[in-house]
Symmetry: C2
Subunit: 362 residues, 2 copies
């Protein structure tokens, strides 16, 4: 860590790999010999074509996506997807299943309902405050899709395995764990993810959609809300969010060339999370809030013996160069978000701080 | 100009003020002492609050907006506004007027029609290839709004004065001339502008909307497509495109503090455009394509005696450090986009090149 930078445990926007930030900084006044900043380059230029094409190729290679899958860059975040998904995929008489595992699932469900779409909530973990991932769900075999949230940033839960939907394509919000582990892509009809957690800055959402779902959109959907608009124009029907796409490209390059791919990334993520969970499990001071078999490897949520201690913990951590440890404003407590870019050294620094804090206050 | 940077005449994304780019570069690893990049800072932090609030305050001060106007930051570009405007402002039985002055107006009209909204095209300049701005238009006094495109980047035309709509609020796409001149704001119900021409990088659209129009949205509009969602949450219902908003803030600061406000900006823009138009008017080699009283001060479109010469012109200009001079792919010819950030020195360099090129080839 550079002397003047902190260990960043923000939930999103979140830490980015330092080498990526340094590359952006270094070339910021003259991108790839263009004589322009990346923010000044035309999206219809060879320079930007190379950026967006490389980002798409890398995303497909990393996730082992075959040619049926399109990788799109859409604005509006995952929240825009909550409305675009039912708008595009559900026509009259169609139905879809939703699993409710927390705040973001709840919002996705709400946006389908606002449009009067026939969706069914087939499982929910609300009964135990969203502290677990439901199992043994009976999905509707006639559903067009089954929607899940693969990782729940606020409650700190994550699907360890993806459910058996009897062939119904899964549509998953992966905003907070895309590219964090290998996937059995066959199960998915669509994967979407706001970039600002695992792969870039805010301002762009990656949408991976399978060919057969692309064709479902009704004709009266506005152009900018149709997936086919993005698929047909390589995400450049209009000006894309160039800087955000560029940063995503650099993060994917870092993931492939510096980390060494998804298996290595997954192992590193497991190691980071285990460091924290193992320590918490033997501590009577820190208490994890997610049920053990539903724990997120991305967002480690925990409580201290009192809210006062939690406040002191967050404040003293920041004084010690550890930022972003406050839990989401809707649930309180503490949270360490340790996405792909968070280095092991940051987690080790946090662990040291947690131990010291427990000794002083336990 | 720094030795390795070019004179950038791109139509968008376009040139940004060099001091703005330098400030971003310098603080890119540690924004405002946060120990994080601006791309890593939480949008729920004091750091980002200061950024977005300052951007809003400056936009309101520069345009002299009173408290009835909200300044919003929305994703999806002006193209998303083409659909959001009729979706939010036109209920059953409502009608709106549209003036067609080129490619972007045509797209705005199409998006209203896709939704089956009752709109009327009250004037068009298509009869003379969109080379002029229509006058003496009979607007419908019962229209909810009158839509215009204040500057037409592709055809190089601009409304010199805004039309008398008998009190019907104007809704204007100002993507390519917002903040380029003082406005009589009273006439406008809404102004929207993709940032990537006059005020920032791609990835954010500024929407200025008057209180009375905010209340019109039907209840079944998805949350992310409602203007009130953005107005109620200071554009942070979900994660905004932080980096783009930050750059807009810096450009507005530059406009106020370095340029000295809108009157000075307008005078400088007039001076830049006059340099090119005055020269073209006395030349028999270069021919402006817009009718004289409809000429844009932002996009100077022109032809040379042959397409071959145009190709040579664009290529030799680039060899001489002058980029982005090719006309839009839909119309051909040449175009110099000289938005707010384009320095006078760039226009002077272009003028010198044009003179030399005419001497050699005229």
């Amino acid at each position: 860590m550079k002397a003047d930078r902190i260990h960043n445990f923000n939930a999103g926007p979140a830490a980015l790999p330092l080498p990526v930030l340094e590359e952006i900084q270094e070339s910021f006044l003259n991108f790839a010999g263009s004589g322009m900043s990346i923010t000044e380059v035309s999206h219809r230029s060879k320079w930007f074509d190379d950026v967006i094409n490389d980002a798409v190729v890398r995303a497909k290679r990393i996730l082992k996506l075959d040619d049926r899958y399109h990788v799109l860059f859409v604005q509006g975040g995952a929240s825009m997807q909550f409305c675009m998904i039912p708008m595009n995929l559900l026509g009259a008489g169609d139905t879809a299943d939703y699993v409710n595992t927390g705040t973001w699932s709840t919002k996705a469900i709400k946006e389908a309902e606002i449009q009067g779409k026939a969706i069914r909530v087939v499982a929910s973990s609300e009964d135990r405050n969203f502290s677990y991932i439901p199992e043994g769900i009976a999905f509707n075999p006639n559903a067009v899709y089954a929607h899940i949230t693969s990782n729940n940033t606020i409650k700190g839960t994550q699907w360890a395995q993806f459910p058996d939907t009897s062939g119904v394509p899964i549509v998953s919000d992966m905003s907070s764990d895309i590219f964090s582990r290998p996937l059995d892509v066959e199960k998915f009809g669509m994967i979407y993810a706001g970039a600002q957690k695992n792969m870039g800055p805010a301002g762009v959402c990656m949408v991976i959609i399978r060919e057969d779902l692309l064709g479902r959109s009704p004709k009266d959907i506005p152009t900018m809300l149709r997936y086919s608009t993005f698929a047909e124009k390589n995400s450049m029907f209009n000006t894309p969010p160039c800087f955000s796409v560029y940063t995503v490209q650099l993060v994917l390059k870092w993931l492939e060339e510096t980390i060494g791919g998804l298996d290595k990334m997954a192992a590193l993520n497991r190691k980071k999370a285990d460091l924290l969970y193992d320590y918490m499990d033997q501590s009577e001071f820190y208490r994890g809030t997610a049920e053990k078999n539903s724990r997120s490897l991305m967002n480690v949520t925990f409580r201290l013996p009192s809210e006062d201690l939690e406040k002191t913990f967050v404040a003293e951590a920041l004084e010690n160069g550890l930022g972003g440890l406050k839990g989401h404003r809707s649930v309180g407590g503490c949270r360490a978000s340790i996405y792909n870019p968070t280095p092991l050294a940051s987690v080790e620094a946090l662990l040291d701080f947690m131990k010291t804090f427990e000794r002083k206050n336990g």
